[in-house]
């Protein structure tokens, strides 16, 4: 017995030691790279790396890693080596805020890419802004993050250090409304949302535009995301005579909702935003989901010429996980930080200045380059100037892009 535990402890120690050496050797690699120049710049990554949304989060992390490695290989910034530091926010605002503080306290971190969820971003913005540390989200779509809570009437930028490469729901909702009315020729909509920041906001911007261009809202409802029984709502939808349903919310509820509406006898499509643009939606909604629609930010990465290099490099780098929905945007976000670092270093005679964080944040405002997802630059609120969106439809059990474009007033 005694002998056995001794063996266990020895094995554990050996494993621990090996792990430590492995870490050490990786650090050494980084060190030898930077040997040519000397300065190390860390780009933070905050995303859900575990849990339900980890597929999206790991795609973000890998894409940022690829951007850092590419910059190092190209020796883009003389004397500077980029490295990433990824923290898991589990899609929880509280974890996100703790991660933000961790990044701020590490003075090698000069920029952060993330997070995935708008609610997480809300909890991080102030922490980063106080430290003048730039944060670029590849995925947040809540308009209030850049334009203030009263964005519909009076746009005010609250945090100068926050940027995003994804476009906002202020554009996504109306874009969907125009597609539904003009292209899909649906005139009577039933609007449902889950009362959360993202869902309710999206449903509101959709409704405004749909009414403006002549569509009719024949009914509205709000669902409780904790329940599974939407039969009463489904019956209301059926009897309202609507020819389309718009749902503001995410796929765990949207899937069953679509299924129950069709089961109630209303053979009409359900339309949603990027919150339902996920393969799981189709799984939950079942066979009758064919024809359901979703909008999502940007154009499908595979179809863009500018993305070919990224897709090839990503494959070559051998990441275990897919780059997923936000990979291209994450690469561009990291690249924007790298460009800003380059500008600051060049202006300072080849060295990082002492107030690097503030200078990099200021420089990010003016970056402009051709990225994976198209032209990357930011407007006065920190929003991407690239307002492209795509409509996807469920076809043969998978999402298929049907129309890309931009919303124009």
């Amino acid at each position: 017995m005694r002998q056995r535990s001794l063996i266990t402890i020895t094995a554990a120690l050996a494993a621990g030691a090996l792990t430590l050496t492995a870490c050490g050797s990786r650090d050494d690699d980084g060190g030898s790279d930077s040997g040519s120049g000397g300065t190390k710049v860390v780009i933070g990554v905050d995303a859900p790396l575990t849990g339900d949304l980890s597929a999206l989060g790991l795609g973000i992390k890998n894409s940022v890693d690829l951007a850092a490695k590419t910059a190092n290989k190209q020796k883009l910034v003389d004397g500077v080596t980029f490295e990433i530091k990824a923290l898991d926010d589990q899609a929880q605002p509280s974890s996100g805020q703790a991660n933000a503080s961790t990044f701020v306290s590490d003075d090698k971190v000069l920029g952060v890419v993330g997070p995935l969820n708008s609610s997480v971003a809300e909890s991080m913005q102030k922490v980063f802004d106080d430290a003048k540390l730039v944060e670029i989200s590849p995925a947040n779509t809540g308009p209030a993050l850049t334009q203030g809570v009263d964005w519909q009437t009076k746009k005010v930028r609250t945090y100068k250090s926050y940027f995003r490469t994804a476009t906002t729901d202020a554009i996504q909702g109306p874009f969907a409304a125009q597609y539904v009315y003009n292209d899909a020729k649906k005139k009577k909509v039933f609007v449902i949302d889950d009362k959360k920041t993202y869902g309710a906001g999206l449903a509101a911007t959709f409704t405004d535009e749909f009414k403006k261009i002549g569509g009719k809202v024949v009914g509205t409802d709000h669902i409780d995301p904790d329940t599974k029984d939407f039969s009463a709502v489904a019956t209301k939808v059926k009897n309202s005579g609507a020819d389309v349903v718009y749902y503001g919310g995410e796929y765990p509820q949207a899937g069953p909702l679509s299924k129950q509406i069709k089961a109630a006898g209303a053979k009409i499509p359900l339309v949603g935003g990027d919150g339902i643009y996920d393969p799981t939606f189709i799984e939950l909604a079942g066979a009758n989901s064919a024809g359901d629609l979703a909008t999502s930010v940007g154009a499908p990465v595979e179809t863009l010429d500018s993305a070919k290099q990224f897709v090839a490099d990503y494959k070559k780098a051998g990441y275990k996980e897919e780059y997923a929905a936000y990979g291209g945007y994450s690469y561009d976000a990291a690249w924007a930080i790298i460009q800003a670092v380059k500008k600051v270093v060049d202006d300072n005679g080849g060295k990082l200045p002492s107030d690097a964080r503030a200078k990099i944040t200021a420089a990010t405002q003016n970056v402009s380059f051709d990225g994976v997802t198209g032209k990357v630059s930011f407007d006065e609120f920190g929003d991407a100037t690239n307002k492209q969106l795509t409509v996807y439809a469920v076809e043969n059990g998978a999402w298929k892009a049907v129309k890309s474009g931009t919303y124009t007033g």
Binding site: D52, D194, A264, T280
Partner: protein, 310 residues
């Protein structure tokens, strides 16, 4: 088109499911005065038991006519085993302890069962698809009934009839009634109360398992969290109907299901209530109803007024 018949059917179906789960709360409470908060998870385990039979026991492509009865058996076995195990190892050691102790154990057990399924059942971190009964929906007048709902429509009254027969006509059933009235005297009369308590737990689990299969067929999926909210609703139904009364459990379930559905469908049309309608308010109206009933009849709809046991 007249929407009312369809909404009544929606409400009855939801209510029948609450009722099936509420029976377990009410029987266990009636006999040992324990609110078994882990009962929602026993319901959930039933769902996963049925799923396991379908995914891992039956060969692919088995028709539902063969699969469904076997899935039902799997659901019942899984739920009853867990319920009886819980009684033996979590509640029996605390039978003479103050009533708060087993209540806390029940909440702990509820969390433990949820997390166990989350951690160990393959794919349970997200919703898992449940097999469907093929065949189109049936239209009766303006009412549409899904094939999956037919199971519930048949299972709920049949379950009630079997339960009523068991409790009224069999020896064990009469033993249960006696134990519920006065466990000490029942023991003196030669009734094995330990066995009666196990039977109560097992019966409750059996009906929860039937409810879980109905849930899977109705919503097309099961998930490790499915027992939490539904268990809470079923408990509410049991209290509404008069906890301890098995007919009350079914009645409470039906009333609660109808109330939720009607609130979702019609409250927004009442002048001045347009902001309080919609599905997200259904729970609020369900609990408003509960409070109103308890104000008028504290013992619940079919409950009997009993003197507190000293």
């Amino acid at each position: 088109m007249n929407e009312l018949p369809q909404q009544l059917v929606n409400g009855l179906l939801l209510g029948a499911m609450y009722g099936l789960v509420a029976i377990g709360y009410t029987m266990v409470y009636g006999i040992v005065q324990l609110i078994n908060f882990a009962h929602g998870e026993i319901f959930m385990i039933g769902g996963f038991g049925a799923l396991t039979v379908y995914l891992y026991v039956l060969p692919d492509g088995t028709t539902m006519w063969v699969a469904l009865p076997l899935m039902l058996v799997g659901a019942v076995i899984a739920a009853v085993l867990v319920a009886v195990g819980a009684e033996r190892f979590a509640y029996r050691p605390l039978r003479t302890a103050p009533r708060l102790a087993p209540l806390i154990t029940a909440i702990g057990l509820s969390l433990a069962l949820q997390q166990a399924v989350w951690a160990w059942y393959p794919g349970a971190k997200e919703s898992i698809n449940f097999p469907e009964i093929p065949g189109g929906p049936f239209e009766i007048g303006s009412v549409t009934i899904q094939t999956g709902d037919i199971f519930l429509f048949v299972a709920a009254p049949v379950s009630m009839a079997i339960l009523a027969y068991f409790v009224m006509k069999t020896r064990t059933g009469r033993g249960m009634q006696a134990t519920a009235q006065d466990p000490d005297t029942a023991k003196l009369m030669g009734i094995n109360t330990d066995r009666i308590i196990v039977v109560a737990f097992a019966l409750g689990a059996l009906f929860a398992a039937v409810g879980a299969v109905a849930y899977g067929l109705k919503y097309g999926q099961v998930q490790f969290r499915m027992g939490f909210i539904l268990g809470l609703k079923a408990f509410t139904a049991a209290v509404l109907g008069g906890i301890g009364n098995i007919y009350g459990a079914m009645l409470g379930g039906l009333v609660l299901g109808l109330a939720e559905t009607m609130a979702t469908a019609y409250i927004a049309d009442v002048p001045g209530f347009d902001l309080l309608g919609g599905q997200s308010w259904a729970n609020v109206w369900a609990f408003v109803l509960l409070i109103l009933v308890l104000l008028v009849r504290p013992q619940g709809l079919l409950g009997e007024r009993v003197a507190d046991r000293a």
